[in-house]
Amino acid sequence: MVLLPREQLCSRGAAAWGGALLGTEMVNQLWQQQCDSFCSQNYPLYIRSVPTENELKFHYTVHTSLDVVDEKISAMGKALVDQRELYLGLLYPTEDYKVYGYVTNSKVKFVMVVDSSNTALRDNEIRSMFRKLHNSYTDIMCNPFYNPGDRIHSRAFDTMVNSMMMQVC
């Protein structure tokens, strides 16, 4: 599965975006989850999906949602960045799922796609999930053997994401 670097999809030039995606979808009573992380040049740092059906669809969704994230960030761009909240909230709803976004101070983006029929997920739960993601990501950054921009192979990160997704499903 090849994911194109963001620069090719978007005209934002030297923007350094990254994002992580979590997706849940209910298909035939099976919960599906997908998790993508994107590296700072908008290529994926981390991709994870639980039931692996329709994975591509989620990946596409994530990519397109990055546009929305960009938009949101630039919208408050003139304001002091510090005041911008890391949690971006609901990016946009579609018929099947909702997309939430989160941006870190280093412009690494996390995008989460949640199935619309999963009404059990509250906003604060989403926030807490993003927080966990962010914390795990910083833990990875602390590892001197990790070069920023590499794909994330950390087992701890995997474990955390899996447990989180299992929890949601």
């Binding site: 030297a14 923007a15 350094a16 003139k78 002091l80 960045v81 510090d82 412009k107 910083t138 833990d139 950054m141 602390c142 590892n143 001197p144 053997f145 990790y146 192979h153 950390s154 087992r155 701890a156």
Partner: protein, 614 residues
């Protein structure tokens, strides 16, 4: 077993094999030899199998060059196989060598005890009377390659090959020798490696010859484990340690042995001289990259060992990381989670050891053999040969289990009790440098820092409650705040002062503490001393608390003195509180200042930010 025929043919064959040299074999010898021969040489073969013979010879625990010589002398090399004659002669020569005779044909004419083989069954031979003639022990000067080969590094194993090409009976020792001591030496860490090798070279030789002469039951492992620790206490506990480590090898590869820990600590020192500080991520990265493990694995190792995820390694984290690297290099798969024995708390308790008395932690076995076979083989040797000396309360628990288990696996053993003992002991270390283990149980099962911080926590259960522990607590607090002193023995608390000064006073106190009859008075006197010399007070009072703890009876009789002591302790506590409060306020000040700086920097950053388009 065909003892009769082979026994009968033995001497005759021996005579034939040695060209007319009659080999006198006593009855027991004959029996034994034929038994061994038939073990090595299942009938109807005429010659003993080379590998089994090799095993047998190695089990005799003679140096390989001696074995080599024996094979040569007995004629196996000449004829190319181990026939009964050669075998019997070889056995006789082994007995001679084990008795300290040179390996010559003449030696076997003497009456000798049966050769001892450690591996097989329980070969405890009875020594016969020493022969009349006694030649000095002559060992072949170490052929460096041969000797080191079987006891040290695998990479020199190849050198033995050219020496014994026709020697099927003696196989070359396993490529990865069964000593895991070798492991700290065998990765390419440059200078450290060569330095350590040199260091190990001499002790190996020394230990080896003592083994030869003493014929102790402990084997390689026990010996080697005693090598690198050079503290004087080591010598006292060497024997016990040998036995202990032999019985305590566990198949838990995640346990760090004493020698390994010393090595790790030395490495830590080379990167960061202060043992209490961190090794930064980049420094550690460069260091571990030298191990030539692939980066993802190193990344995983880091993940496992950097428990607090701060991008830096403390000493226990470093030891854990290093240990994982070593394990990985020796073929072990990295675990998914950090094994219990590598947790920083566990290691921290244990790491205090190398700074002081090593003897207490000799329970650590050496977990990293190179190959499963050799490991099991030597373990079989040791387990059959050793007794389990329960010299310390600490060692009893997990170690017997370890002795039983022989399989190589990375199964983690939960040893909570042992952990508790170890941390208890660590906590006990602080006030208790001179005391033996039994008291350690009395301390709470927390690390030293906790014991320090909790101050009031009663360190000893036995009768005298408040006095001793209150003093200890006040002392602990004093220690914390006497920044320029030797306060913290463990050295884990921040300011890490040198630990030298306390020792002389401690030893003084030991002397003072000797007469058990008047512990209370001693305490008072030491308290007086403590008041005069605040710096020495912690140590003095600590040690005085030791004798106070031990004799139960006299203390209780002198309650008035106790009251006075309690009052002084209270005073000290108050002083300590005041110091603490002052320190607290100072730290608050600093915190505020740092906050201000941070805010200033943030505003600067914001001002700069609009320039960069992100």
């Amino acid at each position: 077993m065909e003892q009769g025929p082979s026994g009968g043919s033995g001497p005759a064959a021996a005579a034939a094999g040695t060209g007319g040299l009659l080999l006198p074999l006593s009855e027991t010898e004959q029996q034994r030899y034929s038994e061994l021969f038939s073990r090595c040489c299942p009938p109807p073969e005429a010659a003993a199998g080379g590998s089994s013979v090799g095993e047998l010879f190695r089990a005799s625990q003679l140096p390989p060059d001696t074995l080599h010589q024996i094979t040569e002398v007995c004629g196996a090399k000449r004829v190319g196989y181990f026939g009964p004659a050669q075998f019997y002669i070889a056995l006789k020569l082994i007995a001679a060598a084990q008795s300290g005779f040179p390996v010559r044909i003449e030696s076997i004419k003497n009456e000798l005890p049966l050769p001892r083989f450690m591996a097989l069954k329980n070969d405890t031979e009875v020594r016969y009377g020493t022969p009349a003639e006694f030649h000095g022990v002559k060992f072949q000067g170490p052929h460096g390659t041969l000797e080191k080969n079987s006891y040290k590094r695998a990479d020199e194993g190849d050198k033995q090959e050219p020496k014994s090409p026709p020697m099927s009976p003696i196989c070359s020792p396993p490529a990865s020798p069964s000593t895991y001591q070798r492991i700290p030496l065998s990765y390419g860490y440059g200078k450290a490696r060569s330095g350590l090798e040199q260091q190990h070279g001499a002790p190996y030789e020394v230990r080896h010859s003592t083994h030869q002469q003493d014929g102790p039951s402990s084997g390689n492992y026990g010996a080697k484990s005693a090598l690198t620790c050079s503290t004087p206490n080591r010598s006292l506990s060497v024997e016990r340690e040998q036995q202990d480590s032999n019985t305590q090898y566990s198949d838990d590869p995640w346990r760090i042995t004493e020698e390994q820990r010393d090595y790790y600590i030395n490495q830590f020192r080379s990167l960061q001289p202060d043992l209490n500080a961190f090794i930064s991520g980049s420094v550690a990265k460069n260091f571990f990259t030298k191990s030539k493990l692939p980066i993802p694995e190193l990344s995983h190792i880091w993940e496992l060992s950097d428990v607090d995820c701060d991008g830096a390694l403390t000493l226990p984290e470093f030891c854990a990381a290093f240990h994982l690297v070593v394990a990985r290099k020796n073929g072990y798969q990295l675990p998914e989670t950090l094994p219990e024995t590598l947790l920083p708390e566990y290691l921290q308790a244990a790491c205090l050891k190398p700074l002081r008395d090593c003897a207490l932690f000799d329970s650590y076995s050496e977990p990293l053999p190179s190959t499963q076979q050799t490991r099991d083989f030597t373990r079989a040797e040791k387990s059959s040969a050793e007794e389990v000396p329960d010299n310390s309360a600490l060692l009893q628990d997990g170690k017997k289990d370890d002795k039983q288990a022989l399989k190589v696996s990375t199964t983690l053993k939960t040893i909570p009790k042992e952990f508790q003992h170890l941390s208890v002991k660590a906590a006990a270390q602080e006030p208790n440098a001179l005391r033996a283990r039994p008291r350690s149980r009395s301390y709470s099962s927390t690390s030293i820092e906790d014991a320090m911080k909790k101050g009031e926590e009663p360190p000893t259960p036995p009768p005298r409650p408040q006095k001793s522990h209150s003093r200890a607590s006040s002392l602990d607090l004093n220690k914390i705040f006497q920044q320029n002193t030797q306060a913290v023995r463990s050295g884990w608390l921040p300011p890490p002062p040198p630990a030298l000064p306390p020792r002389p006073s401690v030893s003084q106190e030991v002397v003072l503490a000797q007469p058990p009859s008047k512990p209370a008075r001693r305490k008072l006197r030491t308290e007086a001393q403590g008041l005069e010399t605040p710096e020495l007070s912690p140590t003095i009072n600590v040690t005085s608390s030791l004798p106070a703890v031990k004799p139960h009876l006299p203390v209780q009789k002198q309650s008035s003195k106790q009251k006075r002591a309690i009052q002084t302790a209270i005073r000290k506590n108050k002083e300590a509180n005041a110091v603490l409060a002052r320190l607290n306020s100072e730290l608050q000040q600093q915190l505020k200042e740092v906050h201000k700086e941070r805010i200033a920097l943030e505003t600067q950053l914001e001002q700069l930010r609009p320039v960069t388009v992100l």
